[in-house]
Symmetry: C3
Subunit: 176 residues, 3 copies
């Protein structure tokens, strides 16, 4: 009996702790973005609280598709032009083949009635997935809150915020 009680008590923190997942999205490729949001949306549908933290190339996923980031300085202008971003501009990390492979995958996904990246992002948002942009890399790339899609309402936060979430999470994935 005493043992049984102990077992019950033990179980408790587990259940609550299980409820949190943190995902750092460092990569900005279509396949990795799909993996990140498939996991996020599935986790949210299971009642897990999901926090996503976008940094470096991952910021491209949550940039507005029609954004016109106005960068100051030649280098940042050039870099911003090369690194335009927006979910519709993402490419596969393999077999992009000048966009042909990427287009092929998107067509295959449509053919199978799989949700697109944009659908997964909307679903994740609707199910309460929280998305944040990394302040340091935003600063480096000259990005401000207005450059990110309204739909996901990202807040720009620092690494300390992400770490605060990570230490409270059951799992932290780093998608690079």
């Amino acid at each position: 009996m005493a043992e049984e009680q102990q077992t019950k008590a033990e179980a408790k923190p587990e259940a609550e702790e299980k409820k949190k997942l943190t995902i750092v999205v460092f990569a900005g490729e279509l396949d990795k973005a799909l993996a990140a949001f498939m996991i996020a949306a599935t986790a949210a549908s299971m009642g897990i609280a999901v926090t996503m933290f976008f940094t470096f190339w991952g910021l491209n996923i949550i940039k507005k598709n029609d954004s016109k980031v106005k960068n100051k300085g030649f280098m940042r202008k050039m870099f911003g032009w090369l690194n335009k971003g927006g979910s519709k501009r993402l490419k596969l990390s393999k077999f992009n083949m000048m966009g042909m492979g990427t287009g092929m995958i998107k067509k295959m996904m449509r053919g199978m009635k799989l949700p697109s990246l944009e659908d997964l992002m909307t679903m994740s948002h609707q199910m309460g997935v929280k998305m944040h942009a990394c302040s340091t890399t935003c600063g480096l790339m000259g990005l401000a809150e207005g450059d990110f899609i309204d739909e996901v309402e990202p807040e720009i936060v620092g690494a300390a915020f992400f770490l605060g979430e990570a230490v409270e999470s059951k799992s932290t994935l780093f998608i690079s």
Copy 2:
């Protein structure tokens, strides 16, 4: 008082929880596959229960080396041909140099009597490492259970299965 006791009891399950490791293998390169299976085999030898979840390019690692996946449709046929897979066809993520770098690493590993990827996979399997293929990406790439090596006996499972494992694991690694 009662609450306090409970708190003490709560602390316990941690120790047991330590016994589980989940690895998502998203990448399909030789070096990353080696890292994944070195960790899996070592963890298993330490008594840690390991679950591996292969998705996207990671599916290539567990494909049969002599597989002839019969894909329907031109796009999937072409994609399947480009993305053939099988542990023996994997390349280094860096310095592949048309296969020369990859061959060099394999030769160096043999020279040092290090286990090959295939050895590590067999060892992992024998020590009870569980390997699963992601249902969504299997569907996308037109893969079924028969396309994967018998030795590892993967079961095709969804993201919810992986998340169920992840929330019970002490650590979850995402190898991309």
Copy 3:
């Protein structure tokens, strides 16, 4: 006394556990090294105990910049020449553009008074971040303790060591 006992019982797994972060650094690119050390330095400043485990291409980050690794055998010599490493030789994983992109990012970071990778490494070391090199990949690449920077004092350890840390950590990140 009573308080002390309680603290011991409760705190042990939970509170202390929260304080630990393990980072596997598999990648050897500048952007990924920056991410790894920004996280490590921030975590350390928050009182989290950080253990970094460098493997495969990640070893390049902690190699001496002026190292002259003397490799035996033609293959290893050639490989060592291609894979020279040292924090100052790291390139961006994207937009390296023969070094132009990498130089641009470094210049932008200086312009914003952001710490360089070397600064972050020194800071991390000073705040007690522990750095270790993976014995298997050191062996494969013909690297010994003397090949790594003194500042970080890495010890060469096996995968079992890393897993021992990982199962005691609140989060484990795999940066690939």
